[in-house]
């Protein structure tokens, strides 16, 4: 269990570093980094709370605290993935609107150019 928690703390630190590096290089927008940073912080906090994991494991009816940890990771990442699915859906909606708008504006420009000639 100690080794698993140690690995979890390393993993969460690596996740934080990767996200912060991507932010610095402008490969990730600030608003989209928040979910990942919160996930990394949550995992980091969990890695230092074996007693909390043990209590959660007992409450969930799981013998091993490791299962409670896996369950917590699953919940955190499900939340992150859901948030990103919403972001992608919003982006798609905006893309459709923009593509349609561009087509209409291009058509109108062509019409105007044709009239000017």
């Amino acid at each position: 269990m100690e080794r698993l928690l140690f690995l979890l703390s390393i993993l969460s630190v690596v996740l934080m570093i990767v996200v912060l590096r991507s932010l610095r290089r402008e490969r990730l927008r600030v608003e989209h980094s928040v979910s990942w940073l919160l996930a990394a912080v949550a995992l980091f906090a969990l890695s230092f709370s074996p007693s909390a994991l043990r209590a959660a494991g007992e409450w969930l009816g799981m013998g091993e605290p490791a299962f409670a940890l896996m369950f917590a990771i699953l919940v955190v990442f499900l939340g992150v993935f859901y948030r990103f699915s919403r972001v992608v859906s919003e982006l798609k909606e905006m893309n459709i609107t923009l593509i349609q708008r561009v087509a209409i504006l291009e058509y109108q420009n062509e019409q105007r150019d044709g009239q000017d000639r």
Binding site: N95, I96, I99, Q100, A103, I104, Y107, Q108
Partner: protein
């Protein structure tokens, strides 16, 4: 946007890789209805659809990216609504819809006062084009599904031969399904308490090309439309829904 005189109708033809048929469809429409403007919405075709449509004398609205049928049709609806067209008749670019029926659709649209009129294949018709068994199963399934939702019988919920008036045009400019739109569009109409009617129409074989709906895609089609229908039922509409029925 510069508007058109009131009462004008636009013929809308969504097209994706229809170079083999689009010119003949436009020629047919133009010869039957000389004064009626024809707009081809090109869904980023990879062939000569645009040049063929322009040669036939149609206006062409070209989408910079491929959106799928719903996005393509909605672009045409947005254009028509912005320009102030009173009615829009949508026909397919593959020649399956008979342009001679456009006037019948428009007559019914104005005389009945409904928001949309659909041209459907006559039940039991032997003349013209016979739909594939797979499509017939799909149509039967969605007819059963839609009956309690719409509160009425629908002959062919997959028909894309439709005439819409200004009210439906406004609605569809804001809300229109992206893929396989015909069935979901009926639910969108129903949620806003808009009405539609069906009239019998001759469906012809495609002039060229093949249907993009393969047997594998049709499974995705059924699941996608099912989900879309239920999403539209669940969608909040501000309590504007009128009782179901006609």
């Amino acid at each position: 946007m510069k508007s058109v005189p009131s009462g004008q109708t636009l013929v809308l033809i969504p097209a994706y890789n229809e170079e083999g048929s689009i010119r003949r469809v436009i020629d047919e429409v133009k010869s039957l209805y000389p004064g009626m403007p024809v707009l081809v919405v090109n869904d980023c075709s990879k062939d000569a659809t645009v040049s063929e449509a322009k040669l036939a004398g149609a206006e062409v609205l070209s989408l910079p990216c491929h959106l799928g049928l719903g996005g393509c049709v909605q672009a045409g609806y947005k254009f028509a609504y912005g320009m102030g067209y009173s009615n829009v008749v949508r026909i397919d670019g593959d020649g399956q819809h008979d342009p001679r029926d456009i006037s019948r659709l428009l007559d019914r649209l104005t005389s009945s006062g409904v928001e949309m009129v659909i041209g459907v294949r006559a039940p039991g018709a032997t003349a013209g084009f016979r739909t594939s068994p797979l499509r017939r199963i799909g149509i039967a399934f969605f007819k059963l599904l839609l009956r309690p939702i719409l509160g009425r019988r629908v002959s062919d919920p997959t028909s894309g031969f439709v005439a819409v008036n200004h009210r439906a045009l406004e609605l569809f400019s804001h809300t229109f399904p992206l893929e396989y739109p015909e069935i979901e569009a009926l639910v969108v109409l129903q949620r806003k308490a808009f009405r539609f009617e069906e009239i019998e129409s001759v469906m012809r074989p495609r002039l060229a090309g093949r249907s993009t709906i393969t047997p594998t895609k049709s499974i995705y089609f059924v699941l996608h439309v099912l989900l879309g229908v239920f999403a539209n039922i669940l969608r909040y509409d501000g309590g504007q829904t009128r009782p179901r029925g006609r």
